[in-house]
Symmetry: C3
């Protein structure tokens, strides 16, 4: 067992370093208490956007590939401190996020069993969680509702806070509130854009789960970017049904999204199906700008940590719509987009 212990032994030179850095003997002597974790998700993908086809070694078809470190320290009296550092990676090319290595999340927290958690740093926004939680394909792969939802949010004039926010202070309700969960986030603009305020409130009990969320972001040029959504899920036997209504607004522009989905458990596998309808209005509307996404997939769990998956999806557009399965070419208005992928997800 001596080999095991070596992993956690603090070498003399490093204790010295820590003491030197602090200028004080021993006070900040770090003890290793860290979980190294991650996901590698890769597969093969076929995309046909309009007339153009593409074969890819794809990534993140089921879950976003990542590398992270996290830990929680018991401080006594129901108080904990915690940290979470997590960044994206791309197994197809070996790249990480070169701009934000820890860009998925970088936070430090003070957590009280009774009073909840205060969290500082870069974190997911409250409004993002409902997109992910009430969507059978999450926000990944050819079947993800984000292919349509981010068609508005992801455009050049939209906010950086669709998924995450820099410079945030977050508050999370404690866990034991009889099924009620919730969070609030404020983020500093620091003299520029990006100032954010968001809230989420949910209730989960037995087979039911329902949540509402809303946010406002200061976009460049003094524009306000607003999001609100309502999501719910219901388990019945081996099935789970999900629904999400999600609206994004900036000035006169608005996109409303309706997401329906179902998961059906078959032994170690899951059948998943999703339908998304998105409508743009306001200054993007030139006639009928809308689109539909249909997706069907199967996931086979080889273990809790490893699964194989396959998904097929199709996006159809109205006359003026140009929604697309992300990752390939753009389409012309009214064209459709088809995607297929098969891959493996491995967590560590």
């Amino acid at each position: 067992m001596s080999k095991d212990l070596s992993l956690l032994t603090r070498p003399v030179t490093s204790s010295l370093l820590a003491a030197l850095l602090l200028g004080l003997g021993g006070l900040a002597q770090a003890q290793s208490s860290v979980t190294v974790f991650g996901i590698v998700d890769a597969g093969v993908q076929y995309l046909k956007n309009g007339d153009k086809t593409l074969h890819l070694l794809s990534t993140d078809g089921q879950q976003s590939s990542r590398f992270g470190l996290r830990g929680v320290e018991e401080l006594g009296g129901g108080l904990k401190a915690g940290f979470h550092l997590e960044g994206a990676l791309n197994p197809d090319t070996g790249t990480a996020d070169s701009n934000r290595f820890w860009g998925r999340r970088a936070t430090v927290s003070l957590i009280s069993d009774a009073a909840g958690e205060v969290r500082l740093g870069r974190d997911f926004t409250p409004t993002f969680w409902s997109i992910s939680r009430f969507n059978v394909f999450g926000t990944n792969g050819v079947g993800g509702a984000n292919n349509l939802i981010y068609g508005f949010d992801g455009s050049s004039s939209s906010a950086k806070t669709i998924v995450r926010s820099d410079n945030s202070v977050g508050y999370f309700l404690p866990e034991k509130l009889g099924g009620v969960y919730g969070q609030a986030m404020v983020a500093a603009g620091e003299g520029s854009d990006g100032k954010y305020l968001g809230l989420r409130l949910g209730y989960a009990t037995g087979p039911f789960d329902v949540a509402v969320a809303l946010s406002e972001t200061d976009n460049p040029g003094g524009k306000k970017f607003k999001v609100y959504n309502l999501g719910a899920s219901y388990k019945i036997g081996d099935a789970q049904l999900m629904g999400l209504y999600h609206v994004s607004k900036e000035g006169a522009r608005e996109q409303a999204n309706y997401v329906l989905g179902a998961i059906y458990k078959i032994g170690a596998g899951q059948l998943r199906a999703s339908y998304v309808h998105s409508e743009n209005s306001g200054d993007l509307k030139k006639g009928d700008y809308s689109g539909n996404l249909f997706a069907v997939g199967y996931r086979h769990n080889l273990s809790k940590r490893t699964s194989l998956y396959s998904t097929i999806s199709r996006v159809d557009n109205s006359d003026k719509g140009s929604f697309v399965i992300r990752g390939g070419s753009a389409v012309q208005a009214g064209q459709s987009s088809t995607g297929f992928e098969a891959g493996i997800t491995h967590s560590f």
Copy 2:
């Protein structure tokens, strides 16, 4: 316990890879013996530089946020090998240092209990350690003496070796020399600037600690950048007093810095106060170019790994001085700068 062991088990495919890479069977078969460590420090900050105010989600107010790996291997006969890889990170935005991921330190060492340590790579310079060690706020936050000291060092014409040096070979005295400690560093210019030579010698016994350090760096344009400092600390009861005299020179330019500080222990907390006076002379001197920094702070330790802190500081300038609390706007000559921050430091 089988779960624990899995962390250290070397998978077959990877042993094979190592063997292939080496072209030799088994000689370099790595065994995991690594400590994963880091710090996440975030808070809220208010800065007023001249007339301009700024609210920030701040980082590194008490210690620099970081991620690192390190380890020491016993080779027998009082000999050890060691490595240390450590880089900066910013929890407010999830960024790492995109130019130098392991930029805080990247070294490999051979360490003899009797003869000392030889260390190769990128490392802190000997002259840096006294700035950090004899300064109650270290080199972090609104109260750090580096706000003034780096006013010269950090300017465009100064050396890259204020804190660290690339391409270095360092030697450290062994630990058991009756309180004497010391190090020397040489760094290669590699056909460009940055050639460095530095020394540090100290003596720590009972409540006393005193050290001198000096260095010379080849700056761009053939200029010599020279640093020397003398620091001391003394513990008396629950108090610790610190003083540092630090001088930086390049040609006719010179900055002398006088740092005084005190730490007073109150239960699990510490009161800290610091005064810094800095004077520029030589080609920067247009009349009286000097400044003073006053800082008071309180640190409350929730554990050895986690603490809360709050600091308030003020920089006053002479008629021609433009020292500033770093992180906000520049000030005009003679203007003052005020800073406040409160945050949390968590080590892992």
Copy 3:
């Protein structure tokens, strides 16, 4: 032992996060099962290319410095899942590969004891392995045969697949085939260049090891870049002999390389010697474009994880040849190049 367990304990907040990200309760609950590994290799180097000399703090003289994570999960029934993330680092400057943090390898695998391994992601190419495996200095340092071999491969018109390929699907024969080993790799061009197909087949038994490999890459401009090689090694007493014949071709250009080497074990040390002859023909040939590399080195193992090394090498060119020891200046045609290095390699 409670300290040990903390490393592997999954904190509550993170389980929750994983569940939220997946949108499904508990299915992808990650358990830590990861080996953190790496190498730090640094030394001092002297290079004389033509008339120009250079002193360096060098890296990777014996093995490439790196940081990585890997793991294998038993799925039952002789099936395993595995991942491998590995990137380069430079201890002289603290940099990582800023373009591809995990650029050495980023793969996820499904491994069957009976049927072999399927591997997706960025990985070493089959043809690379013989350059490394049948070369006493691997592809590192002043003695590496790659100094000449990459003289062609590494030129501007050559393929990105000399060492690794993006977007690859690899297949590896299972391990228990009576000494036969092999792999195949295909990589997608994804609508651009870089499409790759490579094969390697070898046989290792007792003191013998022999392998052939070949590949074809779609280079920019529709050019085909082709590589083939044949390598062998033989152990006799304390000695090991190695030979490699390696050819790179693109259109009329061709470079043939002949590598011979020997390793002789002396207690905890190894004497190593290598001779390389390389000939360019085709559009690079202006008269006789060829070069020879002679290298001798000694490696002293302080442990399985740590060794000291020293290597001296010389490159001589024909009238038109301009091969060089990599890392310093270019040479004029016909000039020679001399290199010396001494360093330490530490694995963790």
